[in-house]
């Protein structure tokens, strides 16, 4: 079993076609699979539906797939950082299915766990509940949300061993584990692949059973909002 591929293009070979549902990890520009996104741009596949909390920014991250008109629909909780997104959305070229952030994460997790639906009180009494089954427990209403079963997952981790066990770093973990879990096939890009035995088994964040293909590469890791304090304030 060799999960390691020499490039993002090689790791996606045979997995890409038009009309795919792709789950992507990342929050804003933090922990996004930069290299796999670039390879999907280069592949030219189109009419993609992408489940991802955000859609990058203009010209970076998933924003690149907007520039090339490869995305048909986004399933997201927040898309406020992207002018091209708004232009395509307002002109009707792009669909958006807004999901509350926790509902989106749980839909991915549920899909990965073989759970087709779950009830949540998030969104009860709002537009999110329209058309969804409502059920009451102990006087509280809950709405039915469906698990996401993606064709392909693309995620970014910090380190992997060659069996695909993943470790994330700080808040770059975010949507990556649930996104990885919900795909039929998951491709992970990491900053470093180490030999098996190098990672403490007690400290694995996502077991390699969820990860089918791996690449290692350099990441730009762009910062969206650089906020600092002056030393004299300390």
């Amino acid at each position: 079993m060799n999960k390691i591929y020499p490039s993002a293009e090689a790791a996606l070979d045979g997995l890409l076609r038009d009309d795919l549902l792709i789950a992507a990890g990342g929050f804003g520009l933090c922990g996004i699979p930069e290299l796999l996104i670039d390879a999907i741009v280069a592949s030219g596949v189109k009419n993609l539906t992408i489940a991802s909390n955000n859609c990058g920014v203009d010209g970076f991250g998933l924003g690149k797939l907007l520039d090339t008109r490869q995305i048909k629909k986004m399933m997201s909780s927040y898309v406020g950082e992207n002018d091209e997104f708004m232009r395509q959305y307002l002109s009707g070229e792009l669909e958006i299915e807004f999901n509350p952030q926790g509902t989106l994460a749980e839909r991915m997790r549920a899909g990965g766990c073989g759970i087709p639906g779950f009830y949540t009180k998030t969104g009860v009494g709002t537009v999110i509940a329209e058309g969804k089954e409502v059920k009451s427990w102990n006087g509280q209403d809950y709405i039915l949300e469906e698990g996401i079963f993606a064709d392909l997952s693309i995620v970014k981790a910090w380190k992997a061993d060659d069996t695909g066990n993943l470790i994330f770093r700080k808040t770059a973990r975010n949507f990556n584990p649930p996104a990885a879990m919900c795909g039929k096939v998951c491709v992970a890009e990491v900053e470093e692949i180490v030999p098996r035995g190098s990672l403490d088994p007690d400290l694995i964040h996502l077991p390699g059973i969820y990860v089918h293909r791996l690449i290692q590469g350099a990441h730009e890791k762009r910062i969206e909002q650089r906020t600092t304090r002056k030393r004299e304030d300390a």
């Binding site: 909780s77 898309v79 307002l90 926790g102 009860v124 700080k170 990556n176 910062i223």
Partner: protein, 207 residues
């Protein structure tokens, strides 16, 4: 004199008790962290962190360490990281004691609108719907009136809701109000604001 942003944040900080796990929204709620004093408060950032620290010193920014507003931040000795599903598991599961967040409108029955204005650009609700549905106590901090001088405390919200019947307490530049049976109850007025002035600026039923 009505309270300014910092005074509203300081008043909101009085709502927090030692040992609480709390989620602060963007804007004035973020300032609440400056006023917790000696209280042992753990801040949650819903992108996957408990124990959020202050902004980093210049040159120490880490692209892997941001808050829910995508700003660079730091960790503390108590910090724990986790994924988004677990983050919202603890929110939905009622483990977070309180959320302090801004609002466009609050209704007298506790309905909250803070994510969308029809006909304007819609950016999305982010984690707001999950937070107001899941946390123990929802505290809104906002100006009492909008820029046209109209009350933001209404009999019924006009904008699409973030949550239905979810708000517990409202802290505005004019005072503090609770959502109770039958309407809003004045808890206190801002220093130098009279009850008549607060009433005149409020459309919602006051009980």
């Amino acid at each position: 004199m009505p309270w300014d942003r910092n005074q509203m944040a300081a008043r909101a900080a009085e709502e927090l008790e030692d040992g609480m796990y709390v989620n602060l929204g963007i804007g004035i709620p973020t300032l609440v962290a400056n006023y917790v004093g000696d209280k042992d408060i753990t801040l949650q950032s819903e992108n996957g962190m408990l124990g959020m620290g202050p902004f980093p010193f210049e040159g120490e920014e880490d692209p892997d360490l941001i808050n829910a507003g995508k700003q660079t931040i730091t960790e503390l000795s108590r910090t724990a990281y986790f994924d988004s599903a677990q983050s919202f598991g603890m929110i939905r599961g009622g483990k977070i004691a309180a959320a302090i967040l801004g609002a466009m409108e609050v209704a007298e029955n506790g309905d909250l609108a803070n994510w969308m204005i029809p006909g304007k650009l819609v950016k999305g609700m982010g984690g707001a719907m999950d937070l107001v549905a899941g946390v123990g106590r929802v505290i809104v901090v906002m100006d009492h009136t909008n820029k046209h001088g109209d009350s933001k405390l209404l009999k019924a919200c006009t904008l699409p809701l973030t949550g239905k019947g979810v708000v517990d307490r409202i802290i505005t530049n004019l005072g503090v109000l609770d959502v109770v049976e039958g309407g809003l109850k004045i808890v206190e007025c801002a220093d130098g604001v009279t009850e008549d002035e607060l009433r005149a600026a409020t459309e919602a039923t006051l009980v």
